[in-house]
């Protein structure tokens, strides 16, 4: 939760810390003020290697500012961010350590994808063969000689990822990477992030929607109005756990009775004859159906509490004139 102290060499105050190779990103007491706007306030958290860390918050919560501060693009008003133990600007070969996808518009429209990558490959001193590797990796080989101006948003996202991967980095930082990707692209990116983290590397991915990254992340950090409101796993999110099981079965009436016998009374019949069962995991519903000799044809469990618990922690950028959400939605 709090900033982890590094079990590093005995403190050497005379010399600045040396660059490590652990792929750990540490944000310590970061604050950033843009003129009158306090974008980030005293934010601290650590991003560990070997995991996908989700960085969540509503629009305007300070996610992008935090990520850009981590990458040396924005100067903190106070506090610091280190990667491998040193500020980004002091990394000797930054693009070999960190790859970042920040926005999908960082391209010259009339430059083709391959030329874009070749320029940045040269800038960071990787061989040109790496360009074709990353193009193939993100599935853009066929579009390599097309001008980026004609690319779809999803293709630009892929090219941005290819650029980030040029230096074969140890840390991957992605700011809202899902926007613009089609479902297939989103699924591919999930798998990519998982395998990247599984190889012992670090992934930090931001989103304003928990659902978008819930399946991918090991850890989440939630910020609201520039400060951290939660860090932990999804299961540790405060608030009531709620699940909904949707099922079709041979005898809905008997199942409803059986469920009521087990104290599960919040059951909603749907017009097509299927049932929505609230407040019980799908395993339990299945056991009860078996006990009541009701055949289950189809069953799908869904957690619909996550987004609600996420929203309860955060304050959106724009506050419509509504009272704060209460329990009124209840177990309906």
């Amino acid at each position: 939760m709090s900033v982890t102290e590094q079990p590093s060499a005995p403190p050497d105050t005379s010399r600045p810390p040396r660059e490590r190779d652990d792929g750990r990103v540490e944000i310590r007491n970061l604050s950033k003020r843009f003129r009158s706007v306090e974008a980030v306030r005293n934010l601290s958290f650590t991003v560990e290697p070997g995991q996908v860390t989700g960085f969540l918050g509503p629009n305007g919560a300070g996610k992008t500012t935090t990520l850009r501060a981590a990458l040396g693009l924005v100067r903190p008003t106070s506090g610091e961010v280190t990667v491998n133990g040193v500020p980004y600007a002091r990394l000797v070969h930054p693009a070999r350590v960190v790859g970042a996808v920040l926005d999908s518009n960082g391209f010259h429209r009339s430059r083709n994808a391959r030329a874009h990558l070749r320029a940045y490959a040269a800038a960071i001193g990787v061989p040109d063969s790496r360009v074709d590797e990353v193009l193939a990796l993100v599935g853009l080989t066929g579009a390599a000689r097309r001008k980026v101006g004609g690319f779809s948003l999803g293709m630009k996202q892929r090219l941005a990822l290819a650029t980030a991967l040029l230096g074969d980095p140890r840390v991957l930082i992605l700011d809202e990477p899902g926007s613009g990707l089609d479902p297939e692209g989103v699924a591919w990116l999930r798998g990519f992030m998982r395998s990247f983290a599984a190889s012992g590397r670090t992934v930090l991915v931001s989103s304003h929607q928990l659902a978008e990254i819930a399946q991918t992340v090991d850890q989440i950090v939630i910020i609201s109005r520039g400060t951290r409101v939660f860090q932990g796993t999804l299961d540790e999110l405060p608030g009531e756990r709620r699940e909904r099981v949707q099922l079709r079965c041979s005898d809905p009436g008997r199942l409803v009775t059986a469920l009521a016998g087990h104290g599960i009374s919040n059951v909603q019949p749907l017009p097509d004859g299927s049932l929505n069962v609230f407040g019980a995991p799908s395993t339990m519903v299945g056991e009860i159906a078996l006990g009541a000799s009701v055949a289950v044809f189809a069953m799908a469990g869904q957690r619909f509490d996550l987004e609600e618990r996420f929203l309860a922690l955060t304050v959106g950028e724009y506050q419509p004139g509504q009272p704060a959400p209460t329990e009124k939605e209840g177990d309906r």
Binding site: L73, R96, N105, F107, S110, D168
Partner: protein, 265 residues
């Protein structure tokens, strides 16, 4: 990841190898887009025209200096501005700084590259102005040494103007603003100052302004003729070149400092 891990090089960000890599990156950025020839083309055509028109009489080195000192300078400076500000216009500065977290290393690479392109502009414009003279039937061979001397001076002057353009572009960031300021300054501000100074009998001071000093350097190389009738006192060309190099250095330092503090959002 399946790809074999790339070896992390041992050299630092200020090593010659890293600088060469970054200059090569700048070259790839420039030559994969159209701005470099779109700016060279008018400069080259104007040099051809000036070479042809002014070759009727007078010394060839003189018309050479006019061609390079006017249109060559403008477009070399604009190239520098565009080279630096295109990064902001197309938001590529984010990626560029991610690869060059030590920001001055990127600026220095741009300065070196722009100097090379500026010198290249000078050579192309010089060649075309000579072509213009030849087309008008002038015997260039007889005056070749002085023509080559001015060309060599113009390589330095245009390289410096391109460097100044990078420094100024890095300073202001905004491409439209940067291009407008350079154009207004070269086409309006200094010419008006020159006229006013002449009226006030202060015209020798004009040679200490940016454009004035670079033109005076070329003028000095032609043998001290009065460049465009603007200069009364012919200072040594190398002194004028130093004055102009001073302006270039100051603007470049200011630009590098501004870039260091800028938030890239």
């Amino acid at each position: 990841m399946s790809a074999p891990a790339l070896e992390i090089p041992q050299y630092g960000p200020w090593s010659a190898r890293a600088l060469r890599d970054r200059v090569r990156a700048e070259s790839r950025k420039t030559f994969s887009t159209a701005a470099w020839w779109a700016l060279l083309l008018p400069a080259a055509l104007c040099s051809l025209a000036i070479g042809a028109i002014s070759a009727k009489d007078g010394r060839l080195a003189h018309s050479q200096a006019i061609a390079l000192g006017s249109f060559g300078v403008i477009f070399a400076a604009l190239f520098g501005v565009v080279c630096a500000t295109a990064e902001y216009r197309h938001h590529t500065v984010t990626t560029s700084y991610l690869g060059a977290a030590n920001r001055p290393t990127l600026t220095v690479a741009k300065l070196v590259f722009a100097a090379l392109v500026g010198g290249g502009y000078a050579l192309v414009c010089a060649a075309l102005s000579i072509l213009g003279m030849v087309l008008r039937g002038r015997h260039v061979a007889a005056e070749l040494p002085s023509v080559l001397l001015v060309t060599a001076g113009a390589v330095l002057v245009l390289a410096l103007w391109a460097v100044l353009g990078v420094g100024f572009g890095t300073w202001v960031g905004n491409q439209v603003f940067g291009v407008l300021v350079i154009l207004l300054y070269l086409l309006l501000v200094e010419p008006i100052l020159a006229v006013l100074a002449k009226l006030a009998d202060l015209h020798s001071y004009i040679t200490y302004l940016p454009s004035g000093s670079s033109l005076a350097a070329l003028d000095g190389l032609t043998g001290g003729e009065q460049f465009g009738g603007r200069f009364g006192i012919a200072s040594p060309w190398w002194l004028m070149l130093l004055v102009f190099a001073g302006y270039t250095a100051v603007i470049t330092l200011v630009g590098t400092g501004a870039a260091q503090r800028r938030d890239i959002t």
